[in-house]
C-alpha cells in the first residue's frame, strides 16, 4: 500500500468511524506475515510494535499467536475475520481487536488489517466487574445479616465480608462500637492473621477449599475467634473517648465517609497511638452510622501483604459500612423490641394472675357472704319454731297426738340446725385446691393483686433469709381472701396500701407476717382491732371474721407481734411445711 492508498484508507476509515470503532492502526500483511504499509492513527499501548516503515515489524510478538495466524489465513481464503487478543505487561492488560479483510491486490498477495484499541473497553469492563463483585459482596452480606439478630454474629459477618478472599480481601478487620453511655469507642471484634506466616497458612487453606463468600459467611459466622486471638487482643485494648477527641475515627463520622490513613506525618499523637495499638501502617476507616446515630467504625488494613488501599476499596468499604450499620442497628432495635415484648408478656401474665386471684377471692367472698346470710336468716326462725316446740312439749301431758307432732317439729329443727352448723364455716364450703406455695410469693401476689395499677407503690416488705424458701400448704384463693381482708383493713389504718410495712420472718415452725405502719406504729394492732367493730347495719368485720376462720382452718393464728425493737404490730401466723430431710 503506497502513501496514496494509505490516505485513501484513512479517508475510508474516517468515514467508517461513526459506524465502527476507530482503528489505532492499519496495515497490510503478506502470506509470510510481513507488515506493509502500516499507518498508525493513535497510541498503541502495550508495546505493540508498529511503524510506518515496517521495519522490525516481524518481531511484533502478537503476530505469532495462533489465533492471529488463523484470522489472517481466513482473510487470504476470502473470508473476513476478527480476533481479540491481549498483551499483559507489568500486571496490566492491553486489549486489541484485529480485523482482517481480503486484500485488493490482484494476485491475492496480501490482506488488509485494522487494529482497534480495546484497552478502554477492557478497563471499563474490569471496573464494571469490580462493581458487580462489590455489589455481590454487599448482597451476600445483607442476605446473611437478614438471617440473624445476634449482634456478635452480625459483627462476624461484617469482618468476614471485609477480610475474606471472595469478599473485599483486606488482610485484617477491626470493629469498634460506641458503648451505651456513648462516651467511648470500644474495640469489639477483629479478624485476621497475626503474622505473614499465619496468613500464608490460613489463605492457603482457604484458597484450596474454593469457598464462595456465601459459603464463608455460612461456615464461619458462628465460629469462635480462636485463630484470631492476637488481633482480638489488639482491638480489645482500644477504648477511645469520643468527646473532645480529634482523630481519624471521629473524623470519619463527622465527614460521613471512609478515610484512608497512611504514613502521613500530619497524624496527631492520638492517631499515631491508635495505629500503634493496631500495629497498622496504613488503614481504611469507615464509619458505622444508622439513622444519623454513630454506632462505631470498621477499620481494615493490608498489614500482611502491604497492598495499597485503592480508592475503589475505600469506596466499597464505605458503602458496605452503611449496610452493616443498618444490620447492627436492627439488632439493637430487635433487642429493644424483645425486651419490650418480655415486659408486655410479664404485664399480661400479671393481669391474668390478678384476674384469677380476684375471681378466686371473690368466689370465696360471695360464698361466705351467702352462707352467713342464709345461716342467719334460717337460724332465727328455726330457733323460734324449735324453741317453742320444746317449750310446749314440756307443758303438755296426756296429749300423745300433739306430743308426737311437737317432738317431730323439735327433731326436724335440730336436724336443720345441724346442717347449718356444717355451713357455719365458710372454709367447709366449696372445693379447695390445696397445694404448697412459697409464702413470700403468696404475699407478693396478694399485694400486687390489690394494687390497682403499676404506678402504685408496693408496701415495704422485709423477708428474713431463713423464710425465703418457706412453704405453706393452702388453697391459694383462701389465702388471698384472708390476707386481702387483713391488708385491706391495715391499709385503711396506714392511709393506703403503700403505707403498710411488712416483715416476714420464721418463728419455730411457723411463718409470721408482721404488719405495721410508720405513723402511730406502736398502736397499729389496737387501731386494727378497733377498726374491726361492726358498723350500723353492716357486717364490716365479716371479712376479717372469715379471714380468722381461714387462718384457723389452716392451723394459723392471729394476734399481736412485732419485729425486734418495735411494738404494737399485728401478727399473722401460718404453719410452715416441715422441710424434708
Amino acid at each position: 500500500m503506497d502513501a496514496g492508498n494509505s490516505t485513501q484508507l484513512s479517508a475510508e476509515l474516517s468515514r467508517e468511524t461513526p459506524a465502527v470503532d476507530r482503528p489505532a492502526a492499519a496495515f497490510a500483511l503478506d502470506k509470510d506475515l510481513n507488515i506493509r504499509d502500516a499507518v498508525r492513527y493513535g497510541n498503541l499501548p502495550g508495546h505493540i510494535d508498529l511503524d510506518n516503515n515496517a521495519r522490525g515489524l516481524r518481531q511484533s510478538s502478537f503476530l505469532d499467536r495462533p489465533e492471529i495466524k488463523t484470522a489472517v489465513q481466513d482473510a487470504f481464503d476470502q473470508r473476513s475475520s476478527q480476533v481479540r487478543f491481549s498483551v499483559e505487561i507489568d500486571d496490566r492488560r492491553y486489549c486489541y481487536d484485529l480485523y482482517c479483510f481480503t486484500g485488493q491486490d490482484s494476485d491475492n498477495s496480501s490482506v488488509q488489517c485494522f487494529l482497534v484499541d480495546r484497552c478502554r473497553d477492557e478497563e471499563t469492563a474490569f471496573r464494571l466487574q469490580n462493581r458487580i463483585n462489590g455489589l455481590d459482596i454487599i448482597n451476600q452480606a445483607v442476605r446473611a445479616f437478614a438471617e440473624t439478630n445476634n449482634l456478635t454474629e452480625i459483627l462476624r459477618i461484617i469482618l468476614l465480608a471485609v477480610t475474606s478472599g471472595p469478599g473485599m480481601g483486606f488482610n485484617r478487620g477491626f470493629i469498634l462500637l460506641l458503648d451505651e453511655s456513648r462516651q467511648f469507642l470500644h474495640g469489639c471484634l477483629a479478624t485476621g492473621p497475626s503474622s505473614p506466616m499465619e496468613a500464608g497458612e490460613i489463605w492457603k487453606s482457604l484458597s484450596s477449599s474454593q469457598l464462595s463468600l456465601a459459603d464463608v459467611l455460612r461456615l464461619y459466622r458462628t465460629g469462635e475467634n480462636s485463630t484470631d486471638t492476637y488481633v482480638n487482643q489488639l482491638v480489645a485494648s482500644l477504648k477511645i473517648p469520643i468527646a473532645d477527641s480529634s482523630n481519624f475515627l471521629t473524623r470519619a463520622f463527622e465527614e460521613r465517609r471512609a478515610l484512608a490513613i497512611g504514613t502521613e506525618t500530619t497524624l496527631n499523637d492520638e492517631e499515631k497511638k491508635i495505629k500503634e495499638k493496631l500495629e497498622a501502617e496504613s488503614l481504611a476507616v469507615a464509619p458505622l452510622i444508622s439513622r444519623d446515630n454513630w454506632l462505631g467504625v470498621i477499620i481494615a488494613d493490608n498489614q500482611i501483604t502491604g497492598k495499597p488501599i485503592s480508592s475503589s476499596d475505600l469506596k466499597l468499604l464505605e458503602i458496605f459500612a452503611r449496610y452493616a450499620s443498618d444490620a447492627i442497628d436492627n439488632t439493637h432495635l430487635y433487642g429493644r423490641l424483645q425486651r419490650k415484648i418480655a415486659r408486655l408478656k410479664e404485664a399480661n401474665d400479671k393481669i391474668m394472675r390478678t384476674r384469677e386471684n380476684l375471681i378466686r377471692a371473690e368466689k370465696w367472698s360471695s360464698v361466705s357472704k351467702m352462707a352467713l346470710e342464709v345461716a342467719h336468716e334460717i337460724r332465727n326462725p328455726l330457733t323460734v319454731i324449735g324453741g317453742n316446740a320444746n317449750a310446749r312439749l314440756r307443758k303438755i301431758d296426756n296429749d300423745p297426738e300433739n306430743q308426737r307432732i311437737l317432738e317431730i317439729i323439735s327433731k326436724q329443727a335440730t336436724r336443720i340446725e345441724n346442717v347449718l352448723n356444717r355451713f357455719s364455716s365458710i372454709v367447709s364450703l366449696g372445693e379447695k385446691e390445696e397445694s404448697n406455695f412459697k409464702i413470700r410469693e403468696l404475699i407478693d401476689e396478694t399485694l400486687r393483686t390489690m394494687l390497682s395499677d403499676d404506678s402504685q407503690a408496693m408496701p415495704e416488705l422485709i423477708i428474713d433469709d431463713n423464710i425465703r424458701e418457706g412453704r405453706i400448704m393452702i388453697d391459694q384463693g383462701l389465702f388471698y381472701k384472708a390476707m386481702m381482708a387483713i391488708f385491706k383493713e391495715s391499709a385503711s389504718i396506714a392511709g393506703g396500701l403503700s403505707g403498710i410495712k411488712l416483715h416476714l420472718k420464721k418463728q419455730y415452725d411457723s411463718a409470721l407476717i408482721l404488719i405495721g405502719c410508720d405513723n402511730d406504729s406502736e398502736n397499729f394492732a389496737g387501731r386494727f382491732f378497733n377498726a374491726m367493730r361492726t358498723k350500723q347495719g353492716e357486717l364490716r368485720s365479716q371479712e376479717i371474721t372469715v379471714a380468722f376462720e381461714i387462718l384457723q382452718h389452716y392451723k394459723g393464728d392471729f394476734g399481736i407481734g412485732s419485729p425486734e425493737g418495735l411494738k404494737g404490730w399485728l401478727a399473722v401466723e401460718f404453719p410452715l411445711i416441715k422441710e424434708e430431710v
Binding site: 352467713l372 345461716a375 342467719h376 336468716e377 337460724r379 332465727n380 326462725p381 328455726l382 330457733t383 323460734v384 319454731i385 324449735g386 324453741g387 317453742n388 316446740a389 320444746n390 317449750a391 323439735s410 329443727a413 335440730t414 340446725e417 352448723n421 357455719s424 364455716s425 365458710i426 382491732f529 374491726m532 367493730r533 361492726t534 358498723k535 350500723q536 347495719g537 357486717l539 368485720s541 365479716q542 376479717i544 371474721t545 372469715v546 380468722f548 376462720e549 384457723q552
Partner: protein
C-alpha cells in the same frame, strides 16, 4: 330474783327467751334494739345479766356490748347470735360468753345459771 335483759330485734325470739327464763325463775325483760337496750341499762342499774343479739338495726350488739363495758365489767353479757362466725371476732371477746342461737335453749339456760352463780 335475778334480773335479765334480753336484747333482740326478733319479737318471737324475745318472747321465747323471756318465757323460758321466767319459767327458770328469773325476772326477764326484753327490748328490740341497741338504743333501747342502752336506755334500759341507764335506767336500771341493778341488772344481773344481759343476753345480747348482734345483728340489729341502727346500733348493733357489739356496740351495745362495748358501751356496757365502758360503764361496768360487773354485768355478765351473753352474746347470742345466729352468726357462728362472730365467735372469732375480737370484740366479742369482751363478752362473757358467745352462744349460737339454737332451738334447744338448754345451753343458754346453763350458761345463764353459770354466770349468775359465779
Amino acid at each position: 330474783m335475778k334480773r335479765i335483759l334480753i336484747v333482740d330485734d326478733e319479737e318471737d325470739i324475745r318472747c321465747l327467751y323471756q318465757s323460758e327464763l321466767e319459767i327458770e325463775g328469773y325476772d326477764a325483760f326484753s327490748v328490740s334494739s341497741g338504743n333501747e337496750a342502752m336506755a334500759f341499762i341507764d335506767q336500771n342499774s341493778n341488772l344481773d345479766l344481759v343476753i345480747l343479739d348482734i345483728k340489729m338495726n341502727e346500733v348493733d350488739g357489739l356496740e351495745v356490748l362495748e358501751n356496757i363495758r365502758t360503764r361496768t365489767n360487773k354485768v355478765p353479757v351473753i352474746l347470742n347470735s345466729a352468726y357462728s362466725t362472730y365467735k372469732n371476732n375480737f370484740t366479742s371477746w369482751l363478752a362473757d360468753a358467745y352462744l349460737v342461737k339454737s332451738s334447744d335453749l338448754t345451753e343458754l339456760k346453763d350458761k345463764v345459771k353459770e354466770l349468775l352463780t359465779t
